[in-house]
C-alpha cells in the first residue's frame, strides 16, 4: 500500500529494463501523487456562512487514464508500432506463449515485450532468454497495468519502427479489462484447464477482446473440456471475437497466431479506438 494515501494501486510501481546480464537494480518511477494529496486546503470564507454550492463536473472517471492511453496510441501510431495487450488469469500460459511467439516470428517483424506482474523480474528474464528486449513493470499491490505505466515502459523500451510490442498484463480476469492502455488490440488467453464457462463468468474481459486464444489444447485428451461450448460462450459475451486454439508448448495454432500478428503490423497501427465505457449510446455494442 502507498504510504502517502493508502491506495493500493499506483503504489510503488517499478519499471525495470531487463538487460542480457541483469543484476537489475530496480529503477524507481514517481507514482504521481501530485494531485490533491497535499495537506488539505484550508476552507474558504464560505465556511463561516455554511453555504454550499453545486459544481457540475460531468466527466469520465477514467478520463486521465484514457488521455494517457490516447497519447500512447499516438506515440505508437507515429512509429508504426503494433501494441497488443495480452490478458488472462495467472498460469494460462501468457509468458510461455510469448517465448514461443518470439521464436516463431524470428525477428520478422521485430518484437519487444512489456511484462506486468505484481512482483519479480522472472517473466522479463524468461523473455530476455529469447534475445528480445523486455521491460518489467511491477505493480506492487496493483492488479492491472494502466496507460501511465505503459507510457513509461514504452519510453524505456524504445521499440523500433514497424515492430510489435507484446504486453503481458497482470494475471487477472477482472481488473485489466477496465483500463485502456493505448493498445491496437486486446487478446484474451484462456487455457483448457480453467473451465469452458469462464466467458460467461467474466464477460467484461471477453467482451473487450478482439481475439481469444484457447491455450493448452494439447491437454484436451486428458480433460472434460468442451471447446465447442467454450466457443459458444465466447460468442455470447462477444459476438465479434475470433477464437483460435493453440498450444504454446506443443506448437498447434502458433503459426496462425503469428500470421494474425504479421497481418496487423503490415495493415498499420491504431485500428482500435479508445475503450468505450459510457452509455455508449449509438455505437455501444455488447462487447
Amino acid at each position: 500500500m502507498c504510504a502517502t494515501c493508502g491506495c493500493s494501486d499506483p503504489a510503488g510501481t517499478r519499471i525495470t529494463q531487463v538487460t542480457a546480464d541483469t543484476a537489475a537494480a530496480p529503477h524507481l518511477h514517481d507514482h504521481g501523487h501530485g494531485n490533491g494529496h497535499g495537506a488539505g486546503q484550508a476552507g474558504t470564507a464560505d465556511e463561516d456562512t455554511g453555504e454550499t454550492r453545486t459544481v457540475l463536473l460531468e466527466q469520465q472517471v477514467l478520463a486521465r487514464n484514457d488521455r494517457l492511453a490516447g497519447a500512447n496510441r499516438e506515440w505508437l501510431g507515429t512509429r508504426g508500432v503494433l501494441a497488443v495487450n495480452l490478458m488472462s488469469s495467472p498460469g494460462s500460459g501468457k509468458t510461455t506463449l510469448l517465448e514461443r511467439t518470439i521464436r516463431e516470428l524470428a525477428g520478422r517483424p521485430p518484437v519487444s515485450v512489456v511484462e506486468g506482474d505484481q512482483e519479480s523480474l522472472i517473466d522479463a528474464q524468461r523473455v530476455r532468454g529469447t534475445g528480445c528486449a523486455a521491460v518489467q513493470i511491477n505493480t506492487g499491490a496493483g492488479c492491472h497495468l494502466d496507460a501511465g505505466m505503459l507510457g513509461s515502459a514504452l519510453r524505456e523500451l524504445d521499440p523500433p519502427p514497424r515492430s510489435v510490442v507484446l504486453i503481458e498484463n497482470v494475471g487477472n480476469l477482472v481488473c485489466p479489462a477496465l483500463f485502456d492502455l493505448g493498445e491496437a488490440h486486446r487478446v484474451v488467453i484462456m487455457s483448457v484447464t480453467e473451465g469452458a464457462d469462464k466467458p460467461l463468468k467474466y464477460p467484461h474481459m471477453f467482451a473487450a477482446a478482439d481475439l481469444v486464444l484457447l491455450n493448452k489444447v494439447d491437454l484436451l485428451p486428458h480433460l472434460d473440456f468442451d471447446p465447442g461450448f467454450f466457443e459458444s460462450s465466447v460468442r455470447r459475451a462477444n459476438p465479434r471475437a475470433e477464437v483460435l486454439r493453440v498450444s504454446a508448448t506443443g506448437g498447434e495454432g502458433i503459426g496462425i497466431w503469428c500470421e494474425w500478428l504479421r497481418d496487423r503490423v503490415t495493415a498499420g497501427p491504431g485500428e482500435r479506438g479508445p475503450a468505450r465505457r459510457d452509455s455508449g449510446a449509438a455505437d455501444g455494442v455488447a462487447r
Binding site: 494515501c5 493508502g6 491506495c7 493500493s8 494501486d9 499506483p10 494531485n35 490533491g36 494529496h37 488539505g40 486546503q41 484550508a42 476552507g43 474558504t44 464560505d46 465556511e47 455554511g50 453555504e51 454550499t52 454550492r53 453545486t54 459544481v55 457540475l56 463536473l57 460531468e58 466527466q59 469520465q60 472517471v61 477514467l62 478520463a63 486521465r64 487514464n65 496493483g142 492488479c143 492491472h144 494502466d146 477482472v174 481488473c175 479489462a177 477496465l178 483500463f179 460467461l200 464477460p203 467484461h204 467482451a207 460468442r235 455470447r236 459475451a237 459476438p239 468505450r276 465505457r277 459510457d278 452509455s279 455508449g280 449510446a281 449509438a282 455505437d283 455501444g284 455494442v285 455488447a286
Partner: protein, 109 residues
C-alpha cells in the same frame, strides 16, 4: 481490486477541480454494467479521500440499469449482465445504458 484505482482516479480528478473549497457531497454515476461495484467504491473512498479536501464527503451514487436495443427486431430490453441476447434470439444487440462511469457533480463549501 480495481475499485481502489477507480476511486483514486475520482479523488484525483475532483481535487484538480478544487480551488481551496471543501467537498460536502460528491455525485457519481456507476452503471450496473460498468464493471465497477459501487459498494467497493464506497469502501475505498474514505481511504482515498483521507488528507484531501474530499475527506468526510458523502458519496451519492446513481446506478443506471443496463438497457439494450436489438438491431434485428429493434426491441429495447433490460440487461442484467453483459451476456446480451434479445428475446427474439438475436445477439446483435447494442447497449444503450448501464456502462456509465462518470463524476456528475459536487457540493462544495
Amino acid at each position: 481490486m480495481h475499485e481502489m484505482a477507480v476511486t483514486q482516479s475520482i479523488v484525483d480528478a475532483v481535487c484538480e477541480r478544487l480551488d481551496g473549497a471543501r467537498v460536502r457531497v460528491l455525485a457519481l454515476e456507476i452503471g450496473t454494467l460498468s464493471g465497477v461495484v459501487p459498494d467497493a467504491v464506497r469502501f475505498c473512498f474514505d481511504l482515498a479521500a483521507e488528507g484531501t479536501p474530499l475527506a468526510g464527503a458523502r458519496l451519492e451514487i446513481a446506478e443506471p440499469p443496463g438497457l439494450a436495443r436489438c438491431r434485428v427486431c429493434e426491441a429495447e430490453f433490460r440487461l442484467d449482465d453483459l451476456i446480451a441476447l434479445c428475446p427474439c434470439g438475436s445477439a446483435d444487440v447494442g447497449i444503450i445504458s448501464g456502462r456509465e462511469l462518470r463524476i456528475r457533480s459536487m457540493e462544495v463549501l
